[in-house]
Symmetry: C2
Subunit: 567 residues, 2 copies
């Protein structure tokens, strides 16, 4: 049973003002309420109150992982280069990876995620199909050298993560391990009190096939997602894929022949649309990129943006880069700012399905200061490949039912992947199968940002007065505030001890010489769900019980308050 | 309540043979019993069974730290260079420190211990003497790039440590915080079941005044310590200090004049003693060292060794180095292998108290192939400083009572320091004092090697059959072994469930197709304190209950066995 935490002894210094560099709610409030302290960009200390919340989140994660039969282990963070060299991620991670050398000059890294090492572990420990399936997890410190670490513990360079890995011999087994994790994650986030959505996701650098993200909607989130109010479809915007065959042909028989226009000083869609007095959606924007070094043009309506992430996903494993001024130098056929598909015989042309056969466009004429109009797809130019590559916008049709999509910002709090055999192939992870022959293992990988979940909870639950924790993660169940006089402090400590004896986790503000007003403000900032005030009627045994979220309070005898809190 | 752990599902692969590179008991057995797995030199994974033991040790540490009012926090391992630059340890740690750069080229280190950062934390969080005393702790991953990482988890390069720090405004306060930690450490090691000694220690690179070590006697230990069977004195051998005034004068009136001897080919004490047929203890060995670059001679009896650690402690902060061949080159007065104090007018001479005034010696004559005898201290040469600098040996007199000391090897499992104001001075850690003026804070620092404690426990408790854990740290309370038939497995699972429901942590070997012999051997190797065998008399409801340590066993009805185990 935990001890009563006395504010007179607890190391918690609250601040009235937001830290100068803080942008997000969680960053501001976790610092102001004395939960965390910054050591360096993206590197944080968890102070006593913060450590309690972090532990409470970890405990929920641990219970639910144990409940699905996952086994807890602890891997090192300092990892040798070789396995990451083998998987290709020593290079692929680029600057995101913290690399270092030991005293003998050997290369090491600080683990950003542990697929390689878990694969090696299971190769060591599991010999037969009888040893599988196995699910392993750890709650451990991860390192990623983010380009712009910010938002406090929401996106750190050193952070706490629960990562787990499943090992099966069949695709059905993997699907089951994945489903177990998916259900466990739903229970975890529900117990934590996190509003969350499960959305389709792209697998990115992780490799593998199916993957879903758990998103916590919040203005401070760095992810955008869509959901459909009509059918419930939800996806990370990068993963929204409209079928490319949505390109519905138009009738171009009444469109006149292509015509060139003198359009000086119109290198942008905006300037072009203004000069010609046409909507941006009637213009055709052509973005040049390099795909494995070869120049490719991507055509989308002028009012849309190309989503380079989606384009990269479509074309993977090819590498997509933007073209540079040097790339134009050797190509007189490519006139910067005035590219049109009708003049690109030697360039592969990828287009959004909206650039359908028979549609007519205003676009570049492949000459300086010149555009062309009535440029008809299928007549004046051909599309080599239709791909959905535009950035999704609010109101775009749902790929599942066609209704208008809603767009939102969210924090990624979990991600589950069906990796398949990518890492098993790299490390030749086989076990002896039921028929006595080696069988290649198939894997899943599953992550929860434990420290990020604390920040996400703060973002979703805080109000104007401060933090406002859900019961399961709060640093205490009750915050007892002694108004100030010695007798009130005595009574408050007595009440705290009774609540503790009844099994509650209790924080008591027993500070002498601190005004009641400061104590109330601190209690609201710290955000324990229930506040018990031992104040002016303490002598008659009457206290005030306040709900932190609703602000509702009632005066009642201490005995009744204790009974109510421990009910 | 924990779940029943089923061997059929648990990732634990036992080995019959010791790993090739393993030298110590704990290394061999923790690998063979499937507790740990090596990732790189000094870098280890804690597999499911090992993670449980590590958690059990951590839980005991946490409870006892909470009980003395220490507050748990979590600091990062990735730390900026500046605070360690300020304390001087960025340089002092030398190659022991893992250093790295981030993507912007800024210097970081992986924390080997956190005095600097805790000092900064308290400077931030504590303003007034009313905020003190405060004791903070963390159980966290530490990094030290050991020159020879070995012995498995006994001396890793990445390891788990509990480090705590106390902050007081008075020396009495520091003494109290230190005493609280000392008592907590005694309770921790007693609860863990570790045989341990508290010995005086030297503070080393940590700085500060008083310090004591907690040592776990074990053959695999890297520390040597002495204890006195007569008076209970105990110290790390490096910290044994005999009073220098123990140099009791001898009467040299009957000793003849100094005489030179032709002694070809006797550059060592051994060869000299053999040729002259005198005991090594009658010869005087003179070791040349450089102290801050100046050559100094150190004289000790020929049968003793100079303890460079003790010499360094005596002369700190001066830096002590051995002399090189180049150092001799410019000094014709120093004849290598034939140095004698009677010819060292220009060299400072430090001697062991045994080289007392009036004692006569055989020593070098400062000429090649020549020694001198009847060289009398005080007559033929002078001692500038008496210092106790010899390596302690078994039977040396106890500095406290004079009785013969015993010598032993041990593992350092804890270390407590009264740091004083060293770090507070570096970071100007002051708080507002009771008189309204700033008061400089005084600090203590306290460490327990959590992962090392696991290895120390294995070293102390293992027997010929395998690991043999004390109850509080064992990965389970009972290991239920089902002999092999389906009915026996059923009954074993049933027994396991009953034991679990009664609050015990249960491991059950329910593997099908594994022989009873292998299961018994595995159970003994894994080392859970009590083994319940569901075997040949299972059908009649009779099982065998075995004590892992004593090997004693009895047959009894299952109901009685359950009652006995849960008593």
């Amino acid at each position: 049973m935990s001890q009563v935490q006395r504010m007179s002894r607890l190391m918690v210094k609250t601040l009235r003002d937001d830290p100068a560099d803080a942008e997000t709610i969680s960053h501001k409030l976790l610092v102001r309420a004395g939960y965390v302290r910054r050591n360096a960009a993206g590197v944080w200390t968890w102070l006593p109150l913060g450590k309690k919340v972090l532990d409470n989140v970890s405990a929920v994660v641990r219970e639910e992982m144990d409940a699905i039969g996952a086994q807890e282990v602890l891997l090192p963070a300092l990892l040798p280069r070789e396995p990451y060299e083998a998987s290709g991620r020593w290079e692929e991670y680029g600057e995101l990876l913290f690399r270092l050398k030991d005293r003998k000059g050997a290369d090491y890294l600080l683990g950003p995620t542990h697929e390689e090492i878990f694969t090696q572990t299971v190769k060591d420990q599991c010999v037969s199909y009888k040893d599988l399936p196995v699910m392993l997890y750890q709650i451990q410190t991860k390192y990623r050298d983010e380009a712009r670490p910010r938002s406090g513990v929401l996106r750190g360079r050193e952070f706490q993560m629960k990562d787990s890995y499943s090992f099966d011999i069949t695709d059905e087994g993997l699907a089951e391990s994945y489903a177990l994790h998916r259900a466990a994650y739903q229970r975890i986030f529900t117990r934590l009190g996190l509003d969350h959505r499960i959305v389709s996701a792209v697998s990115g650098a992780m490799g593998g096939s199916a993957s879903e993200e758990f998103l916590a909607p919040a203005a401070a989130g760095e992810d955008t997602f869509v959901d459909c109010p009509a059918c419930g479809y939800a996806a990370n915007t990068e993963a929204v894929t409209f079928p490319a065959d949505r390109a519905e042909p138009a009738d171009a028989s009444s469109v006149g022949p292509m015509e060139e226009l003198d359009t000086p000083d119109t290198p942008t869609i905006e300037s072009l649309a203004r000069q010609l007095d046409v909507p941006a959606s009637a213009t055709l924007k052509n973005l040049l990129v390099k795909v494995d070094g070869e120049i490719v043009a991507v055509g989308v309506p002028g009012d849309r943006e190309v989503d380079l992430g989606k384009l990269g996903e479509h074309l993977a494993p090819a590498v997509v880069e933007l073209v540079t001024a040097e790339d134009f130098a050797g190509r007189p056929d490519l006139v910067r700012g005035y590219v049109g598909p009708q003049g690109l015989a030697k360039v592969r042309y990828i287009a959004d399905p909206r650039v359908a056969p028979g549609t007519a466009w205003v676009t570049g004429a492949n000459k300086p200061d010149t555009h062309a109009r009535d440029v008809v797809c299928g007549r004046d130019f051909e599309v080599d490949d239709y791909l959905d590559v535009v950035v999704v916008e609010e109101g775009d049709p749902c790929p599942s039912c066609g209704a208008g999509l809603r767009l939102g910002r969210a924090i990624e709090i979990g991600h589950i992947f069906q990796l398949g055999r990518k890492y098993a192939d790299t490390f030749q992870l086989d076990v002896l199968g039921p028929q006595g022959k080696p069988v290649r293992v198939t894997m899943g990988s599953y992550g929860i940002g434990v420290s990020r979940a604390v920040a996400a909870l703060a973002e979703q639950t805080a109000d104007a007065k401060g933090l406002c924790w859900p019961a399961e993660v709060a640093p205490a169940d009750v915050h007892v505030v002694a108004a100030g006089k010695a007798a009130q402090i005595e009574l408050a400590l007595d009440a705290a001890e009774r609540l503790r004896a009844a099994g509650l986790r209790v924080l008591v503000d027993d500070r002498a010489g601190v005004s009641p007003g400061v104590k109330f403000t601190d209690a609201e900032l710290i955000g324990v769900p229930r506040i018990l005030i031992v104040g002016r009627r303490a002598a008659e045994g009457v206290v005030e019980l306040k709900d932190r979220r609703s602000g509702e309070s009632e005066e009642l005898p201490l005995t009744d308050a204790v009974a109510k809190l421990t009910a």
